[in-house]
Amino acid sequence: MSEKNITMPVSADEQVNSNQTRRSFLRKSVAVAGGAVIAAAAAGRASAGAQVTEPLAIPPTNKILGRGVVSVPYGLPSKYEAHVVRRNVEWLTPDTIASISFTPLQDLEGIITPNGLHFERYHGGAVDIDPSTHRLVVHGLVDKPMIFTIEDLKRFPQKAAFWFLECPANGAMEWRGVQMDSLQFTHGMISCSEWIGVSLLDLMKAVGVKKEATWFYGEGADGAALQRSVPLPGAKDQFGKPLPEFDTNEIYKDVIVAYAQNGEALRPENGYPIRLIVPGCEANLSVKYLRRIKFVDKPLVTYQETRHYTDGMPDGRFRQYTLVNEANSVVTFPCPDKKMSGKGSYEIRGLAWTGRGKVKAVDVSVDGGKTWKEAKLLDPVFSKCLTRFTLPWEWDGKEALVMSRVTDETGYVQPTLRQLREQRGSNSIYHKNSIQTWKVLPNGEVHNVQIENL
């Protein structure tokens, strides 16, 4: 979208007009009007009796000396940002060891999640592993099984990219109805980082993976010793049916064994000293505290592939190997955690992502889905990475239903909740990527709602 100053909702005039000259004329006038709106808003503030007449006080910090260097050797956020933290939902899990915490998306800017705010998902808690004793074994259907130290892994060519990690249960509490009145809890099982490590393809070359290998799995060195099977070309399920082509031929090519995250070593919560990253896929595949990779010719059908991470359908059967996180998006401002502060000019902001490549476009609606306007995608737009979108919005102070809808490079359009439920019922738990609606009230409050008939 190139016109920066278009305001929403779109005038009926502009929607129906197909005359190019008239349209570009309109566009210009909208831009001018946009400028006028800003001026009017400034004037509005002044006329609201808020004109500043009191002489400004000198900030106390102007009159003191601050802290010296390395007084905080590892820097921390301002004490005024203490509310920006991961949070959990106590009733969701019986304890905090096999549990999940949520990233405060409402307080984050850009596409990168600060390491200390990356959502946590444990099946056996976070452990502290000494990197000097940690080893990675790569074996199975290979010419020479090998063992690597962390130093060894760092000698391999580096592969780095910006990728999101998302728990497929993101949004799980909302299948049956509105439950969480908070962006952090409806969408906070996602984070995005620059991940740095060794390409799986290089490790495969180093050990000489045999042609018969059609799957591999990673396994953790923590109490959960979590293991997940990842398909390779030729992968078939336990019934002998081939997995989808994208899953067998594309997913593994991006896989890395990561040792760094956003410029520093992985955090213990995120798998220190090494973890798998399986970009675009449900994050459970990206095994933390990685100790072993085995190349095999069939899946494990382990705990995480049968009892969990399988999606219950209306016919009572369960979908298995639902690996890819399909396109999803959410408006991060306004949202229940970040209210409106009076009518006037705003920018609707949000995040979009897809496990199948790049985000192509994001459309925004403020009228509950009747009309949509294409938002602007902010650079960078990377594959399997969070993408920012924005759209200027002139809020008239009336009730609004704000939502976003992503289209990815495969042409897939983010579904509505009704479409998801019609196809999958309400027992799926996982992969709820439907359009999210926020209801903005005249008093500026924002609430989570669902539109039944969209």
């Binding site: 060894d152 016919d315 738990i429 992969h431 039944e452």
Partner: protein, 227 residues
Amino acid sequence: MFKSKISKTALAAGLMAFSSMSFAGDAAFNGIGKTIDEKAIAPWAISVHFDGDGLPAGKGSVAQGEPIYQAKCAMCHGEFGEGAKGYPKMLGETVEQIHALAAKDEDTVGVRGINSLWGHAPTLYDYIRRAMPFFAPQSLGNDEAYATTCYVLYIAEIIKDDKTVCDASVLKATKMPSQDNFYTDPRPDIKNARCMNDCMKEAPVVKEMAVVGVGKDASSGKTAADH
């Protein structure tokens, strides 16, 4: 630049002294890592496939499993496998009941157990041996893990005979009720259209929160999502 042939040769020789290796066109991995014997890996190689590949030698009976389960598992999974304190059930609704509930779109998430949703007995053994009891993972020996798995299968009403002794061949032969209740991902399964104007004929039907602010009140007793 160079004045004589000699200085060129000398320079080349000098370079050789610093590095005898040229930049590799293709990345090489010489000297990185060590090879390792499968026998040396054995203590780590504890994974069991769905078909029983990887099950160790050993055995354990339902009767031997009962005291282990009651001492080390029942506090979280219930004396009869009914679950406790929010921890998972061993005995849930049957596959048939799951089908019936799902058809009515009633909740099946909170009623799942080993009998409702676990495709293969060998991977149950794998999981119990690798991750349970929760407070002391990988503390059960191979025989204890067989006995405990045998008992869990018994209280989940999959093994019916309380005289059963479980070993690799018994677990391979045990057909789990949900074994054929899985199928591989058919997505993308939904086709939405990128409508821009006049996308809804009627006014939006808006469903609000039952209780506003649940997300911030972590103590509220709503149904837990199980993931």
